[in-house]
């Protein structure tokens, strides 16, 4: 949830208070009509299944026999499941490394482009292209070949005098880093958000500071950064949620295995293997709940930490 959504929530509440808290019946019936698809979706597609998977997580279920109640067995199994621990390690490494790196590149380029640079629209389009394509199987396929033994990456290393014939995706020490690089490469989308945020900062602030003799660094430190923190925050929350559910690249780059040596076993990939490869639906449901709890907790921590560093204008 973003800041803006919270604001919207608050606005929604105060609107209700103004109306005296008593809704009129005509609206009730109309709302039922307008919201009927959404309510069906909540019951049948999102929240309903989420609750059903809570039940499933206490069972063993392989789709063929009916679910058998096993109590907390699935959750107990998690403590001893080395592959799950590996999946958590891989996913957290990915999130912790790739999110800050990607946002740093995005912010850096947004700052460079913001200062009245001509051709902004061209640069913005060019930099957005990887974000547009980065989630596709096509680019994951490309990555797999670029970082293979005779791939483009080694060729370029050769051109700058570094001889390498190793396959970066078959080496457990480097495979995850190729996927992290792929994530960083899609910096265009947060960059566009940063650019929009930079535009909101009144020019007068900078002019006043310049009149007082403030240098570039001072202006960045005391004007740009504080006023941009809500947008940085929004980007961080969004990027973290998205990174936790990364699947496509890990699946394609590793050929669905999460290898080599489980070094690219992303959480969602392991969930897929357990649920749809081994048909351990109960265990996969428990894993799904753990994922929801992790994302919820990390987002909550984010909001809690934001009080310390996000600067609100109003």
């Amino acid at each position: 949830m973003s800041l803006k959504e919270l604001n919207a929530l608050a606005a929604n509440r105060s609107a209700r208070r103004r109306s005296g808290g008593k809704a009129d019946t005509r609206d009730n019936r109309a709302a039922l009509g307008f919201l009927s698809p959404w309510m069906l979706g909540i019951v049948g597609i999102t929240l309903g299944p989420l609750l059903y998977s809570l039940y499933l997580s206490f069972t063993n279920y392989n789709l063929l026999q009916s679910p058998s109640w096993v109590g907390l067995d699935n959750y107990e199994r998690m403590f001893g499941d080395e592959r799950l621990h590996q999946a958590l390690k891989v996913t957290f490494t990915y999130v912790i490394v790739s999110v800050p790196l990607q946002l740093a590149v995005a912010l850096g380029l947004a700052l460079a482009l913001d200062r009245g640079m001509r051709g902004l629209a061209f640069y913005r389009s060019a930099f957005y292209l990887p974000s547009l394509l980065g989630g596709s199987v096509a680019i994951a396929v490309l990555w797999r070949l670029v970082f293979g033994a005779s791939g483009l990456f080694n060729v370029i290393l050769g051109l700058i005098g570094i001889e390498s014939s190793q396959s970066w995706i078959s080496n457990p020490d480097t495979a995850l880093w190729t996927i992290i690089l792929l994530h960083v490469w899609t910096f265009g989308s947060p960059m566009v958000i940063f650019l929009a945020g930079l535009r909101q900062i009144p020019r007068a602030y900078y002019e006043a500071a310049a009149t007082d003799g403030a240098n570039v660094w001072w202006r960045f430190r005391h004007i740009t950064m504080p006023l941009l923190t809500p947008i940085v925050f929004f980007n961080v929350v969004l990027a973290i949620i998205n990174s936790f559910s990364n699947f496509t690249q890990a699946y394609v780059v590793s050929g669905g295995t999460g290898g080599p040596a489980d070094s690219t076993l992303f959480y969602t990939l392991y969930l897929y293997q357990e649920g749809f490869g081994n048909f351990r639906m109960g265990y996969a449901a428990a894993m799904a709940w753990l994922l929801v709890l992790i994302i919820g907790a990390v987002t909550a921590i984010n909001f809690w930490l934001s009080k310390r560093w996000v600067h609100y204008d109003d």
Binding site: K4, A30, S125, L129, V141, A288
Partner: protein, 303 residues
């Protein structure tokens, strides 16, 4: 902010500052600085787009010449990879493109209709449990598909709908992409309430107010929703991989994946060719919808 990609590229394909002099005129030093900045920026653009350009060049090369070269200029325009790739799998690649197109189209229609209806209710109506319902809607933005795929799959397999497009389209018809509801709620809140009230005085009910007054004004938000739905659905791999196992029902991403298995390394050129084919619709969507895309990213992310 609003330039179309095509136009902006024409204008700034040669962003050499010497070509245009600002009204104030420029000192030599600031011109040099500008040239430096653009050179640096173009270098970054080059590095960023290099892999894509190499893929396109490789799609025109015979297999033996793909690896071992870093050149992004194809030596010849040989389309045999495209011919081979098109027919390399069980079905011609056009079948997969068509399957993807059906799902994308269904998803766009579904999101436009269901999300705009829900957004109208949240933004303009007052009803019981509105606060909790709105909060619930926001929370569902955070729930990834991976968290509900298991029970959803069980449901759809009990209904005999695995290997059909229904599990991929039906959720969109039921407004499960809550992100777009939120986007449209924000947009409707920006429209003057006087419009609704005037309509009401003229005797219009909620449905007429929605369809005839608000919906036409929501075009930018609808366009943003349509283009994001296009991109996300076209790129979606996870749920299509789960639900589509019959090769005749494969979509583009699932077909590309099976390409890797089927060829096991024998024809990379054909694989690249079909990869290029698979991203063409994305690039077209981007070129035509860039205005709404950028606006959408900026309004949801910006202030």
């Amino acid at each position: 902010m609003t330039d179309l990609a095509t136009r902006s590229q024409n204008v700034s394909a040669t962003p050499v500052p010497g070509a245009a002099v600002t009204p104030r005129g420029r000192s030599g030093w600031s011109r040099a600085k500008s040239v430096l900045r653009h050179s640096a920026m173009l270098a970054v653009v080059g590095i960023t787009l290099y892999p894509i350009l190499w893929m396109i060049a490789s799609s025109f090369r015979p297999d033996g010449q793909i690896f071992g070269t870093a050149s992004i200029i194809p030596e010849q325009w040989d389309v045999s990879n495209y011919v081979d790739g098109w027919n390399a799998l069980g079905e011609p690649f056009g079948v997969y493109l068509m399957n993807s197109a059906i799902i994308v189209l269904g998803s766009i229609i579904g999101n436009l209709v269901s999300c705009s209806m829900a957004a109208y209710a949240f933004a303009r109506l007052r009803f019981r449990f509105q606060g909790p319902a709105f909060a619930l809607m926001l929370v569902t933005i955070m729930v990834p598909i991976h968290a509900v795929i298991v029970p959803q799959y069980i449901l759809f397999s009990k209904l005999g709908l695995v290997n059909s497009f229904i599990p991929l389209i039906l959720p969109k018809l039921l407004a499960t992409d809550a992100f777009f509801i939120f986007l449209m709620v924000q947009f409707i809140r920006g429209l003057p309430r006087e419009l609704d009230e005037a309509a009401r005085i003229d005797g219009a009910g909620h449905f007429r107010t929605f369809f005839q007054i608000l919906l036409p004004l929501m075009k930018p938000a609808l366009a943003t929703t349509a283009i994001f739905t296009f991109i996300w659905t076209w790129n979606d791999f996870f749920s299509q991989l789960v639900y589509l196992t019959d090769p005749a029902k494969y979509t583009v991403p699932v077909a590309l994946r099976s390409f890797i298995d089927a060829q096991s390394g024998s024809s990379y050129g054909a694989l690249f060719a079909m990869s290029v084919v698979s991203i063409v619709p994305l690039i077209l969507a981007f070129a035509f919808g860039q205005k709404y895309l950028v606006r959408g990213i900026a309004t949801t992310g910006g202030k």
